[in-house]
């Protein structure tokens, strides 16, 4: 193997490059990045960067240790097509990159509301998104966040800290219900009201008012929430449309095995765009989690090089965290259908603000997931305990 093309220049793409070099690959590496920025870290975009406590320099992912990576960057360029069997990547300016191996790390993009949006309406996925939103989050303004998922909750938390009046609109009856279930979703959602942010549940968005700039969010129960700024946080979709006709198996992302290998030899997928088999759950999952984007590439790089690479066992347990209102929420494992929740420490119903630790049990009563709010130490113990299931 002499030539590798990595499509995607965020955490998963960079982690793949580092892993290839760490594992001894000395050939040519070309990295294609749609954004013009060098690789940067996304989690701070909704928190430290948005809140003004981290600079663009501080969220950069590359450092002095990366000087020896010897990468040919193609930044501000978009891959438009892949000839899978031939491993040829075509870019938007017509350049064709032929490689022995292709790494797909194209990530996901924020979903938007249908129709054209007036000024002041934002999504948050990229550094450019965060720059634009940050300029709009002025003290005293009214912010409406559409969607009480993790991005929406973090933006609400940051904006409240900046002195904006914040409303959140959530279509489901329980925020974070899909990830955490009704009881724990309610517990984490209670952080909003405890911090002066109004959470409107079980109500959809009928439309946006204002032209050219947004003035309100119309709800489908007839109310209208006044808004100077709107953030739409309704999930993300994998960037895989450009792979139509490539010969790859696509199903909510690029289908891969546990190592990131696709149905085509020499083509792997990693990070948010990969719908990969997970040994922990025994099925395929597309994980939009930072930790997955950091860890999956080491395994995929080894697969390309014909080597084995074992991660620490607790890395096999899906993991994510969220920082909201000064509280650290951590989750590992998964929530099983027909399962239940057992609180180990604290009282989620009394006050999420005091912190708690809860286990998610499967239908047989075995722990398969753990949720901690401000409980990093026992959370770490349980994350390792869960890994023994693999």
């Amino acid at each position: 193997m002499r030539d590798v093309v990595v499509v995607g220049a965020s955490l998963a793409g960079l982690a793949t490059v580092r892993a290839l070099r760490d594992q001894g690959f000395e050939g040519r590496i070309v990295v294609v990045g749609e954004e013009k920025h060098a690789p940067y870290d996304r989690p701070p975009l909704s928190k430290e960067y948005l809140g003004g406590t981290a600079s663009e320099d501080e969220i950069g992912l590359t450092g002095p240790d990366d000087a020896g990576l010897d990468v040919e960057w193609r930044l501000g360029r978009t891959a438009t097509a892949l000839d899978g069997p031939g491993r040829v990547v075509t870019l938007d300016d017509g350049e064709r990159l032929t490689a022995d191996a292709v790494v797909l790390a194209t990530g996901a993009r924020a979903r938007t509301l249908p129709g054209g949006n007036p000024q002041g309406v934002h999504t948050l996925r990229t550094l450019d998104d965060a720059r634009a939103l940050r300029a709009d989050l002025l003290p005293g303004r009214r912010l409406v966040v559409v969607g009480a998922g993790f991005i929406g909750a973090e933006v609400a938390s940051t904006a409240a800290g900046l002195g904006l009046a914040v409303d959140i609109v959530e279509a489901a009856a329980v925020p974070l219900g899909r990830a955490l279930g009704p009881e724990m979703g309610t517990a984490c959602g209670s952080l909003h009201e405890a911090n002066g942010v109004r959470l409107h549940r079980a109500v959809g968005v009928a439309g946006l008012s204002g032209d050219p700039r947004v003035t309100g969010v119309r709800l489908d129960d007839g109310r209208e929430l006044p808004a100077d700024v709107v953030v739409v946080g309704i999930g993300a979709a994998p960037n895989v449309e450009w792979l139509d006709g490539s010969g790859l198996d696509l199903d909510d992302g690029v289908v891969t095995d546990a190592r990131g290998c696709t149905n085509l030899p020499g083509v792997v997928a990693v990070g948010d765009c990969a719908n990969s088999h997970r040994d922990y759950t025994g099925d395929r999952l597309r994980l939009e989690h930072w930790t997955n984007a950091l860890q999956q590439p080491a395994v995929a790089a080894a697969a390309l090089l014909g080597a084995e690479h074992a991660l620490p066992s607790h890395h096999a347990v899906p993991y994510f965290w969220s920082d909201q209102y000064g509280h650290r929420i951590q989750f590992a494992g998964h929530r099983a259908a027909g399962g239940s929740v057992r609180v180990e420490e604290g009282d989620p119903a009394a006050s999420a603000g005091a912190g708690f630790l809860a286990l998610f049990l499967d239908s047989s009563g075995a722990p398969v997931g753990v949720l901690g709010v401000d409980r990093p130490r026992p959370f770490g113990r349980w994350r390792r305990e869960l890994a023994k299931r693999v």
Binding site: P43, P44, P64, P376, R377, G380, R384
Partner: protein, 116 residues
Amino acid sequence: MIFVGELSDIPVGESVRVQGSVAIAVFNVDGELFAIDDTCTHQDASLSDGWLEGCAVECPLHAACFDLRTGRPSGPPAKTPVRTHAVVFDGDHVYVDETVPVGTEVTAGLASGLVS
């Protein structure tokens, strides 16, 4: 010198956090005590809450690993080392001397007796 506590306050495999000019974490690795800056250099998290494995601690948030003897990270996501500090005993009293320059390899304070 910062008073950490009695030796018995820091069982083997455990850690305590004390406040110096910054927060400092003190770990007991099989009777050897090590002190490093408590805050992960990658992102705000307390290393005293982390997982101790041999002479390394894994950050409880993003799994950055630091060598307790050198303060150096073993790989991403952390890029910069944490400061290490000397652990000093006076009888059973444990102190941290936070004057060691960043990145200096320190000798563990031995729990078995008086070490200066």
